[in-house]
Symmetry: D3
Subunit: 161 residues, 6 copies
């Protein structure tokens, strides 16, 4: 049986870097569940339902991708979904340290789960959700950095719609 993969994150907002990792994951696994959480993110910029909408809109052309919320322990969520693979993107050293720690903890909590690290296109090296929020807040152009549906929603948000 081919393993199901979960790509967890805050996606606040989703970026082109996230989309790049999602696409790569679909080449490796028959089903990729993008799992949005607020576990580590107490004051999000976008409400969960907006992030769900943006991710579904940006991935609707990829049939093997499913977008969901999750809360609680990631390893419990994987069990419920019969998934055994966690997908994580690796951009840089500081990513690596944190990701390494999380992956070892998740393995400790459930030995049957494997964390798989993928590398985004080098064009997305400098993109993070928080940096995009900052650039957008200060009036910068984020057109090439996020999916179209995210750009539209961020514009609306700024206009106070």
């Amino acid at each position: 049986m081919r393993p199901i993969a979960v790509y967890p994150g805050s996606f606040d907002p989703p970026t082109n870097g996230h989309l790049d990792i999602i696409l790569r994951a679909t080449h490796l696994f028959p089903k990729v569940i993008v799992a949005i959480t607020d576990n580590a993110n107490k004051y999000p910029t976008f409400p969960l339902k907006d992030r769900l909408k943006m991710l579904r809109e940006s991935t609707k052309h990829i049939s093997s991708v499913q977008v969901e919320f999750f809360s609680g322990l990631l390893v419990n969520y994987l069990k419920k979904k019969k998934a055994t693979v966690i997908i994580r993107g690796l951009r840089a050293i500081s990513d690596f340290e944190y990701e390494f720690q999380m992956a070892l903890m998740n393995r400790k909590l459930n030995k049957g789960i494997e964390t798989v690290f993928l590398m985004p296109d080098e064009a997305y090296t400098y993109i993070s959700s928080s940096l995009i929020n900052e650039v957008s807040r200060l009036g910068g152009n984020i057109k090439d950095l996020v999916p179209h549906s995210v750009e539209m929603l961020m514009k609306k948000k700024k206009k106070g719609v």
Copy 2:
């Protein structure tokens, strides 16, 4: 005269990684003072007196260990205690950068003080107090990651006792 060592930290809560470093330090120095502080930790998960209790409980079988509070500058505390050695655990790169900076600053504030870095068992690479708090909050099992007395207190706390 053999140097007295101070192992400072938040210990919020103490972990098996902390205990591992304490034990290693006792093989090197005749007296090891574990010094709990809230200097860099404005909203602790556990009150100081709980952390003192947990650390005393977990180290009561090691006669050369003494557990105390401290506040103010670490170098002043060492002077008061006639200690000349600071013990720090090194787990990873990000640790290293921060620890390096603190050690140089403490040396600048008092040239007579030496910071000694020890490496915990590799089994504790992924353990940090904040990660343990998060796993516990989300319902994960932290039994192998903290001393028994810490596990008991964390359970009580979750039940609202």
Copy 3:
């Protein structure tokens, strides 16, 4: 035409490390604008006007240095000032990761802007504004770590003047 350089930062407070970078930048560029911002610093220790005063006082002997506030996108500020160079100091790995990301983002926002990294004297490796604030708050001596005018203002501040 020789390029004008901008050295952006919070400078909360300015340190001897900052002054070292400013001086080095003046050997390379005919005009160096030190640009103070609160973009990433919502609860500063010193108000903007104090930081402006401290930096102007500490750099008044260097005619090619100009100290200013800025808000909004850094690349827009450079355009307004007809500047094409961003100066950044590199102390350590963690600096490097963040600086790399910012420099790539600024290049993306304006291809005509170059980020130039300089290395401070190794004596300033361990100095950061936040560490100086912490040492000062805990009663430590910061005399050799900040310019004289900063030391004076920090003393006044602590006395509640």
Copy 4:
């Protein structure tokens, strides 16, 4: 169709860390080809045929693993094997830098190939082929660090058999 994976390396000699990665890879992919090369290793400690033998012996109980030689460009070898995934183990920062560079180069040479990074058990953090060769040469015990068949061959080799 499920992707075939190639795990390339010198394996001079194979270690328990290598075996750990091979096993993890078989949980993800239906066929894992362990591909031994001397591309970057002009003066190997073990001849290619010994490494082939040791790896085949150590993996004979895993039916989805196949051990082979390869030379030339890795991406060409994958094409020949109809494989689209490169497996790499990530132990530490220095690994990461080099692996990142290789993965980007391989992606440049063939966009259809994905490099997947797996993390070995933390017990294997300190194991590398070159360190094992050094420890063995100096008379140290490598029993827990390499597969049994490797230990046997290394012993024979030392006796000059």
Copy 5:
């Protein structure tokens, strides 16, 4: 007086990453001397005169660039050339460590010299001379990774012309 800059290196062979740094340097300094050395490179792939030729050919359209050999201490070479700036490209962590050490040593040897670090386009993150030599040796296509004149010479070399 505007400072003259020296960009030292082995350039064995020159890559598009090197060319990118050279171009950026010319936006900052009125004269950029590309200085080829074999100081740290005892068995070069290309003889010095070929590297000189390739670099001159690739930079002939930039009037402020001059290509030369140098041997001996870099700081002495700068003095002879009345240059006060060393240009270095920063791609990654491992670069940074080594470059940091060299820059501090050069500053120790001559306080009047400043090392300026520039960041190449992220498209060149994975390119290094040694990797290009390896890819080319194994039959890979290096067309987008090196200047045209370098590609031509490498082809000739492989044909044994």
Copy 6:
């Protein structure tokens, strides 16, 4: 009983950074054995007997320091010397990775041995034996970087005495 410490290395040649670490170690341990080896250094710049002489000369004023050769496994040498502590200096990230790996391996080979990491003065951040050899070979002044006896011997060596 207070632990005996061993500070192993190539010391090819000894530097002021090495001397700084030796001095710091003597503040912590009653006896510090500086142990010179050629284990990882097949083509040393200075013969073992010269390094022994230079280190003995540079440490003759510190009565608790003893200088010796060793070969074979470091942990076996410690056992023979009834020592239980390995001293290592930490300058930078790349140091750290390698040192971490070695310390874990030595702990694996003998659980009773502790590696203690000390930080040299930041003035010695950029000094390494290989860099000093290179600077000296190219005619640079190494006076402030090595002990006097080392400087003298290096001068003699260059004159071919």
